[in-house]
């Protein structure tokens, strides 16, 4: 049986490249937000770039649907690309929020060590979810899904610690830590949504 190559294949390839570009940019944005190397302004620019790319992905996906009336895996992949591009743009927006929150933090006496584990896990989840999507790796996507509980547990633990610390630390420091934890927890949710889209693309299951 000879398989036919189709004009839609080129379009899907372009769509995959667009998503891969977003995946790489989202990693950089997240790294920059957590490190002190980039300013909040620069992270905001990267976040805006992700927003722009998301619009490009969704416009192109609609074009593919209008021109080729895709079905089955093709349709699932295009639907997922729209969803994943949105998730990447939201992660970019939360990264910008983190960066802005950091810039409000008092320079002295605000211990951010409790964020380290949370950030490491969330960063790994985003990285793994992105790779699972572009490489169509079902096992990796399922691993990301499972890690959500880990993040939720850690988030609850950190919030508990902050409540206990209340009154003993600077209010600006307390607020910044709480907000950053919340943003990281939301980013983890979007990583899980990307994993969900990956599983849906590959299997058709939700």
């Amino acid at each position: 049986m000879r398989e036919i190559s189709r004009p839609l294949d080129q379009g899907l390839m372009k769509l995959r490249n667009m998503i891969n570009d977003m995946r790489i940019l989202v990693r950089k944005t997240l790294e920059s937000a957590y490190s002190d190397k980039a300013t909040a302004k620069r992270v905001r620019e990267m976040s805006n770039e992700l927003l722009f790319l998301m619009d490009e992905v969704s416009d192109f996906a609609v074009q593919l649907m209008a021109r080729y009336q895709p079905v089955a895996t093709d349709l699932r992949e295009i639907k997922s690309a729209i969803q994943v591009a949105y998730d990447f743009s939201r992660i970019g927006r939360y990264a910008a929020n983190i960066s802005e929150t950091y810039s409000m933090m008092p320079g002295e006496g605000c211990d951010t060590s409790m964020l380290q584990d949370m950030f490491r896990i969330v960063f790994e989840m985003v990285d793994e979810a992105g790779r699972a999507y572009v490489e169509k790796d079902l096992a990796l996507a399922e691993k990301v899904r499972r890690r959500d509980d880990e993040v939720d547990g850690l988030y609850a633990e950190c919030i508990k610690q902050l409540i206990q610390m209340g009154g003993k630390i600077d209010i600006k420091c307390l607020l910044s830590l709480a907000l950053t934890l919340r943003y990281l927890e939301r980013i983890a949710d979007h990583a899980v949504y990307i994993a969900d889209s990956t599983i849906y693309t590959i299997t058709g299951r939700k």
């Binding site: 049986m1 000879r2 189709r6 895996t73």
Partner: protein, 249 residues
């Protein structure tokens, strides 16, 4: 309708292999597959039309409301009366008028008792086929004067005038322009309220648009049957996937 262990041979060529299918009432059931996969043969096996081909041999059962239409006790004329059939190329009787094209079946079968009853039946069938408004002013025109799409709707009117239970359609829009094809598809959706429709199509998009259930045939074998929404979003079989996305044809 239920098809059980259906096999068809043309001479030594085994063209349909162990087909088992259940077709619910009042649905549009599409049979799709590439050219030569046996889909038209399957349709013709449903109303024993294959018997007109001396090289064809059929085994298995086709049950309509619990009656096996291949049983020796069944009159083939009765069988064909249960099915209306519409073909790829519109085939009205070209020299007969629009009126007579629809009236001839009921007349020959003695379905009506009077001229006015026949007039009513012709009007009903033409209305049902969405053709009445376009032809009512001159029903005496020859059918050949109609456009391709109108001729196809006339064939549908002719089929339903005989009050069949099931309508079989073999690529009914393959020779029509997109607007005429859309009218036929719209008509099919209307007709399924009263009839079960089985349509053969080589166009998966058409199956996706109109059908409730779809069967995929490949090289004489039934590869997958399912609800259309499932088959076109998450087909179970890899071969079905390749066919619906256009990787094999």
């Amino acid at each position: 309708m239920e098809i059980c262990d259906l096999n068809v041979w043309y001479g030594g060529n085994h063209v349909l292999k162990n087909i088992n299918l259940k077709i619910p009432k009042n649905v549009i059931f599409a049979i799709m597959g590439p050219s030569g996969c046996g889909k038209s043969t399957l349709l013709r096996a449903m109303n024993r039309l294959l018997e007109l081909n001396p090289t064809a041999k059929v085994s298995g059962q086709v049950m309509v409301d619990g009656i096996n239409i291949y049983s020796d006790k069944i009159d083939v004329t009765w069988v064909r009366r249960q099915f209306g059939m519409v073909f790829q190329i519109p085939n009205p009787f070209p020299h007969l008028s629009i009126y007579d094209n629809v009236a001839i079946g009921p007349k020959l079968n003695g379905l009506t008792k009077s001229k006015s009853e026949l007039d009513q039946l012709v009007r009903w069938a033409l209305e049902k086929a969405y053709l009445w408004d376009e032809v009512k002013d001159d029903l005496r025109r020859p059918a050949a004067a109609l456009s391709g799409g109108q001729q196809q709707r006339l064939c549908i009117a002719r089929a339903i005038a005989l009050k069949p239970r099931i309508i079989l359609m073999d690529e009914p829009t393959a020779n029509l322009d997109p607007v005429a094809a859309m009218k036929i598809e719209e008509l099919m959706l209307e007709l399924k309220e009263d009839y079960t429709i089985v349509i053969v199509t080589h166009n998966p998009q058409q199956a996706a648009r109109v059908s409730d259930y779809v069967a995929f045939l490949y090289l004489g074998e039934l590869v997958e049957v399912g609800e259309t929404s499932q088959v076109f979003t998450r087909p179970i079989n890899k071969l079905t996937e390749k066919y619906v996305v256009g990787r094999i044809g």
